[in-house]
Structure formats: C-alpha cells, structure tokens
Symmetry: C2
Subunit: 526 residues, 2 copies
C-alpha cells in the first residue's frame, strides 16, 4: 500500500476528516475542505553513481517521499505540492557494506548523507539540506535493515536492525512471546533507529520511559568506522558511550543495530480514571504518585481543555488516567495505593477501578488498547486539520514540579494570545505524557484558524511564542521530539556552550568531511 506523500500513513487510511471536522467546527464554526495540490519534484542534481546503482534510485516519487518529515509545516508544504527539498538519490542499503559504499561515494562526490528511518520527524530531522561544501544529497533509507537478528530470552535482550518500523518489530518479537513496549505516537511509521537517534519517549509514564533506558548496546557506522558498545547491563567504565550515540540525530553516524531490552507481554492490568475539580490539586496528586515509588505504566494528567478535546470529560474536570501492568503478578495493590493517593488530593473515581488478572483474556478489548488506537490516530487528525484550514500542532517540554504551575500559566496564556493575534482565536490544551519524581513532561496542543496559504507564517509566530515561553519558564525545548533544525536556536540557548564545542569536536573526529545530516543538531560547517 502506498504511503501518503504529504500526510500520515497510507493514502487509504488518511481520511479522518469527519472526526477532525467535528472537533474543529465546535471551536471555529463551519469549515471548508481543500484538496492537496499535485507534487512538484525538482530534477536530481546528479545521476546515481555506479557504485550505488544496485540499491539506489533517483525516481521522482521515491525522492519526493524522502523530501521531508511530518511536522505541521512539512505537511502544509507537501499539501501545496512543494517537494523542493527532495534528495538527489535515495539509497536502500542491504547491509553495512552498502552503507560504507554510500559514505565513500558521498565523500568523493561531496554529498550530504541523510539517514532516514520512518520519516516521521517533526523537527526537520530527515529533510535533505546541503552544507556549504556539498554538491548534492543522498538519503539513506534503512528500511531493508529490519530484522530481529538474535534473541536472548534469558537476559531478555534482542539484537535488532535499526530500520525496522514499530509494528514489524512487535510482530517479530511477538513470535518469541516478547515486546519492546515502546509506543511513541509515531509508532506505525517510525523506526528503531529513529527512536534511538532522537531519544524517543514511549509507552511507560514512569521509570524505564525513554528509549535510552531500553537500550543495552548500539552499533553506529561513521565515516571513520564502526562504534559498537559492549553488551553489559551497566558499567562504570568512564562516560557511557551509549549516551553519546543516543540523541545524535544522524549527525555523528548511522545507527545500524542495537541490543534492546525486551520483556514478556503484560497479562495483569489495572486502570482507573480520576477526576479533579481543581487542576492544581490534580497536579499535586500526580506528583504524589510520581514520587511514591509505585511506578505506574500510565500516569497521564489531562487538563480540562485536553479532556474536553479528547472526549474524556465535558464537565470542566481534569482527568488523571492511571494504568499499571505486569507480566508477573496482579497489580491490585499498586492501583489501590495510587488511587488512594489521588483521592487524598480530592480526586474522584466515578467509574471505579478495572483490574484484569485473567491471562486468557483477549488483549484487544482493554482500555489500554482503545486508548492506544485513539492515540495513534492523532497524526491522521492533523492531516485533516490542514485540509480544513486549521493550524493544529503540538509541542512539549519537561520542567520541575516547582516550575510547572508558572510554566503552565504563562505558556497557555502566551499561546492563547498569539492565537488571537495570528489566527483570530484558538484553543490550547495540556497533558502530561511522562512524569518523573522531580517533574512532569507537559505536552501542549493548539488549534487556530488558518489563513489559507499563510499557515507557515502563522505557525512560525505561534512556535516562537511557545518556545520562548518554555525556556523563559525553566522548561526544555524538547522532552522527546528532538532538536533537528526546527529547535536549533532554542537548543543552543539551553545547551551548555562548552558541551556544544564537545559535540562539534566529536563530529570532527567521526565525520571529518561533515557528510552527515548537515544542520541537524549541529552547524552544517564543523
């Protein structure tokens, strides 16, 4: 099935129009639907070099499909037919030897090398751009490297190739009765390598939340050779090499494999939704649970606007969605204690607690799965918003519990004011995607009426207002969307200057010709 060139997912699955229309028209009144323009793809600047012909193409549709990621701006550009950022060729390496050939050719031809997994970047991380020394760009699509190569079910680790997409990975691990349980919202169209390169956040709200904690060892191909870290559960031998590769966003090398920590599928589950009249008390309850040592798998607090937008509550209450899961034993005592903590902060649990201890029951029917289906639908809804003429996007951060109340107040106010200024009106909502003992990861959604043809300028002003406010209030520019090019200027404000110099020094050591992903994470010119 063909991918939707400008939007999310398969062409056939992309129409979430009715659902988005209902949501958007509740705020903005009747909206008109626009259709996508035909794609305009520039001619390639070079022919496919002989050494790459066996596994590369300069076909226009393939190049267009690798022209950019899936941010709001990317989709608007694609919707309007603008695929001017398409690479000159796309390589589909069959193994590391092909990858090395790409790097050698790129060095000889002075090509920028753009690693590409599922292409779901929302920060400009996979869009080809040339550095000052480049004459063209080759995108390296890793989709042929998609095998689970080895499973150690005693240590519960699996060696996996980086190009595998989420559903394929889970299918392969499922054959061993195992799961990675990493479900970012991009799950269907993002790859293991992409998760590692961007330090993706996933399924679990607490403890082993980030892909970092699920990674035992990595293998990275750089222009100078291979970096392969040791397969041990932990070590104290100098700074952790994994942590330099994780988050390197394709600027230091191409991740080809990793040993990932896997686990059996959970069979015991417990869920509850706790409603709060007062948002600050809901935050306090969530903090108490985050600091309790109970480690819920799900601990997502939706503010009243977010609960309303998602159809979870229409009575002005904030809702804390709690979930525990285990492959080992009933989670009843954990759920009981977490709900008791929430109730002690004024929460009520109108629909009570649900406990599933029956290992034989089908997975399809439970609350976690229906939540996940709705969660994975988000990117499709954003496509429909573009067709409807609505500026719709999300941004996210993390801050301390002490900083959160002021950050929440200022960010929502600043973005609401910017929406009024730029779009006439709009709505801002917030939920926590992850919680830590020292603070939450708030995730904001905003909607405003688009000026047809002027969406990108509108978005830039909204994004700038939001991002400036995040940094002003002590938040990070990104908890799990990564830096790419979009977040570069704020990243450079929050990154210690000498750490920037350190990364550039590593870049010079591993990628001395500056081939890799120029302008992503670091300056194009090292």
């Amino acid at each position: 099935m063909a991918r939707n060139l400008w939007g999310w997912g398969e062409v056939e699955a992309a129409d979430a129009l009715d659902d988005s229309r209902a949501r958007a028209e509740a705020f903005f009144g009747p909206l008109e639907v626009e259709d996508a323009a035909p794609p305009r793809v520039p001619a390639p600047r070079l022919e496919v070099p002989a050494a790459l012909q066996a596994f590369s193409t300069a076909d226009a549709a393939t190049r267009a499909a690798h022209a950019m990621g899936k941010s709001y701006v990317d989709r608007v550009r694609g919707f309007r037919g603008d695929f001017s950022s398409a690479p000159d060729l796309v390589a589909f390496p069959r193994g590391e030897a092909d990858l090395v050939a790409v790097l050698e050719v790129a060095d000889a031809y002075r090509l920028a090398v753009i690693p590409f997994g599922g292409g779901s970047s929302v920060v400009g991380g996979v869009e080809p751009r040339l550095g000052p020394r480049h004459r063209g760009a080759v995108t390296v699509d890793l989709s042929r490297l998609r095998e689970v190569l080895e499973v150690d079910d005693v240590s519960r680790v699996a060696r996996v190739q980086a190009g595998v997409l989420g559903p394929d990975l889970e299918r392969q691990l499922g054959a061993h009765g195992l799961t990675l349980r990493h479900f970012p919202q991009s799950f269907e169209y993002s790859s293991l390598g992409g998760w590692l390169a961007t330090r993706a956040g996933g399924h679990f709200a607490t403890v082993y939340t980030r892909i970092d904690e699920l990674t035992q060892a990595v293998r990275l191909v750089t222009p100078r050779g291979v970096v392969e870290t040791k397969t041990v559960p932990a070590h104290g031998a100098g700074p952790d090499a994994n942590r330099l590769v994780l988050g390197s966003e394709g600027a230091l090398g191409l991740i080809t494999e990793a040993w990932m920590r896997v686990r059996p599928r959970p069979v015991f589950r417990g869920n509850a939704s706790v409603h709060f009249e007062d948002f600050q008390r809901a935050v306090d309850a969530t903090r108490a649970i985050a600091q309790s040592g109970l480690f819920p798998a799900n601990c997502r607090l939706l503010d009243a606007q977010e609960a309303f937008l998602n159809g979870v509550a229409a009575d002005g209450t904030s809702v804390l969605v709690l979930g525990f899961e285990s492959a080992d034993a009933s989670v009843g005592p954990w759920l009981d204690r977490a709900v008791a903590l929430a109730e002690a902060h004024g929460g009520t649990c109108p629909r009570g607690k649900t406990l599933k201890d029956d290992a034989g029951k089908a997975r399809g029917g439970d609350a976690g799965d229906s939540w996940r289906a709705s969660f994975l639908r988000g990117p499709y809804l954003q496509d429909a918003m573009i067709r409807l003429g609505v500026v719709a996007d999300t941004f996210e951060t993390a801050c301390t519990w002490r900083a959160f109340p002021a950050l929440y107040a200022e960010v929502t106010q600043v973005v609401r004011e910017a929406l009024e200024r730029v779009c006439g009106s709009g709505v801002v909502t917030c939920r926590f995607t992850h919680v830590y003992p020292d603070g939450p990861a708030p995730y904001f959604t905003f909607l405003g009426k688009a000026r047809r043809g002027g969406e990108v300028e509108q978005w830039i002003e909204l994004k700038r207002a939001a991002s400036d406010a995040l940094l002003r209030c002590g938040g990070t520019i990104t908890h799990h969307h990564a830096v790419g090019r979009v977040h570069r200027s704020w990243y450079e404000r929050e990154r210690p200057a000498l750490f920037g110099e350190a990364l550039k020094a590593v870049k010079r050591a591993w990628d001395p010709s500056g081939l890799l992903n120029p302008g992503v994470l670091l300056d194009a010119e090292p």
Copy 2:
C-alpha cells in the same frame, strides 16, 4: 580526629584486627601482626605560588594524605612508608574563584591538577602523576565546598557542593527530612563529586541504582570555562550532557556542584533472607525478581563462600537478602511476591519475613542498619588483613544473565588457581551488589597468604588473571569502581576505539593544555 595515613578512616577506628584475624586464621592458620613503617614523604618540587597561598599548603603531612587512594596496593605502599607520589602542594579552594586561580597557575607553571574528594579511589584515580609536559602536581582538595546550597522539596531536588562527604551530606539533608540514599561502601570517606566523577553504585539494588540516575544537573569547571547543565527532570535535546560529565574521573573538569534527586527517609520496610541449596537456582530466582518489576531496594545474592565468610550461613547454602522500603506505603505485597518467586525456585525462608510499618520506630534497630554497619566495616577489615599478611581485595563486573554462569565458573576457577600459584592457597567469594533486568553485577572477594614485602607483585598477578577472565567472559572491567589508572588497559580493550577518540577530542576542547588528572581514564598526552 586525624585520618589514618595509610589505611581507612580515623586512626582510632582503624583496628578491626580481632575480627579480621578470626576470619583469616580460619583459612590460613596462625598469622603474625606487622606494624606500619613511618611515612617517607619527598620534598616538594616547588614552593606554593603566591596566587594560591591563601588556601594552599606544602606541609608534608597534608601532602602525604593526598599521595594516593585506598586500593590494596595503595595501602600496602603506605603501610611500608612509601608516600613518594605526594603532590607538591595541596589547594583547598573556598569557592570557584579559587579553583579558577588553581587552573590558571597550573597552566602557567605546567602543573598537573589532581581533583580530590574523599580520597577513596581504589583504581589510582586521585594519585598525582605527571604528564610529559608537567613540572609538578597540585592536588585540589574540595573539602571546603561541602554545603547543601538549596533544597526544592516540591521537586525533591537539592543543589549540593561536590566536596561534601557522605555522612555530612546526609546530616544536612536530614535537617529537611530528606536523604539522597546513596551509600557506597566508601560512604564515610567519599564525596558527592567523587561519586559523580566515577559513576558510583550505591544503596539500591534495582531501578535508580547508580548515582547517574540520582543526578538532575551538574556544574563542572574546566580550564576553558564552566559547563552547567539544565535543571529539568529529562530532555530529548541531543545527547545528554550530564552523561559526558558523569564518569569523566577528573580528566575533563572539576565537578563543583550538582542538583541531586533526594527523597524522604523510608518509614516502611520489609526484609527476608532466602536460602538455596543450589546456586544456579538461586541465580534463577534472583533473575526472576530482577525481571518482575517489583524493584526491591536490596536484592543481594551471596554464594555459599560469601555467606560463610560473612557469617550469614555456614551450611553451604547461598543466601538471597531481599529488602523493600518506602516512604509512602506498606511494602507487604511487594515482599510477599518477591519471596513467593524465590520459593518457586526452591528457596526457603527459615526466619520468615520481617515487615516494619511503624513510622515511629527507631531506625537504629533494623536489619538494614546492621547490614549497613557491617558493610561499612569492610575497608577497615582490609587494613587489618594487610597487617596480618593477607592479600585481600575485591573486584567487580556486570554481565548478562546468559553470560553469568560461565563467567562465575571461569572467574572463580582462574582466581583460585592464581591464588594457589601466587599465595599457596586462597579463597574466592562472590555476591551480587546490583541486579538489572538484563543481568547482575557480580562482586568478588579474594584472600590469599601474602609474601611479606612481595604483596604488590602477588596482587598484580591476581588482578591480571581476574581482569583477563572478566573480559574473556563478556563482563565489563568495572561496574562501579571506575577506570582510573589501574583498569586502563582493560578499559581500552572494552571501550570502542572511536569512543576513545571522541573522549580525547573533548579533552582537547575542554582541557587543551592537558592539566587535569593526567593518565586517569585517558592518556596523559592528549
């Protein structure tokens, strides 16, 4: 009270002779006690530069106290009076301005700069050595930087100066009802900065075990300026800068402060000791608990020899010491499930489970505290072993669960054979200090009869046999003792070569004159 120049702790507390004698004579028969030789300290190679006089000294006793760490070899050298590695001067900076002055003077005078916290390194990490360009060495003792500067009890983080030793830190945090709960065996005489610089392992056997996970942000002074990371609970903005500072062992800069994750003292506890006839079944039980998601605070498996040596069991059984703790709620359900898992693997619990839910009860009396007191006694016993003529040391690693059985068999056999060859006879024991879902951190102890005056040569042969075996069997050279100089050759075998180049590139960027801790972690000549 004066510190013991060659051994552990205070002079008055250093005599653990009777206890060590009883343990050692059980293996080796009657032993004679030797006394320490008077210290021989070389004259300094330079006078204290004027810019440092207000906070530095070239006093011989102070220089001798900073001549080396507390490894077995260090203590033997000190016991024999050899303080030839003493620095030329010792600075006690009162703040970062003094630190900057030290770095400036060191650059001008071509001095090696040796950061010194508690001085408990067992890998040669605090011993002054000169690089090829150095004319002398200044040790920077951070003990005056020992304040808890700020406490955020909402986010449960505290800003702490790096020079504070364990007990002082806990006393200061205790005034706020908080604790870091990081208790390495060196707790009494190691500093926060040392824990951070070496990625120390501490109290918790699972989840947030390593100081890495307890660190929110760090502040590092380098010759090129300050690196200060952002105070957020997590971020996805590029590789994590904290993780480059953690484990840098004084080679990249001097850690002066950190925001540490703290918590209330636990009031609910549960403990049990589970005995196993068969060691492999005990390992399987421990693995089941490590993979269960129960996250015990203590999960230490002692093999039969270790249990015997520590007086825990004399009947040839292996013992799994389990402990749960919480400041929030009773840990009964957790302990019940963990013990049930252990029993399902053939364990028995002859003394039953202990559950303390009484918040009012004195902390002093519980099993955790008596275990801790005995644990903290270890370094004193090692002093006594030296006086008794016993080679006594420990080494540690981490490996996957799948690798462990062969690693355990080979390492114990190789070290036992080496003890027979080098010492005539000896004993090797093993326990797990930490456990992860993908593998344990085994910790080995060995004892052999010393050849008076030849201990260092004996130790070198034993260490080499053990370390080679660890790497051959898939283990790391260190889970929490760090690299220093002692582990350098094995570290370079396990470290990806290009990661070594990356670290050297960072060293050149942050410490271009190569002032800092030459030869520790990295080559002296960058």
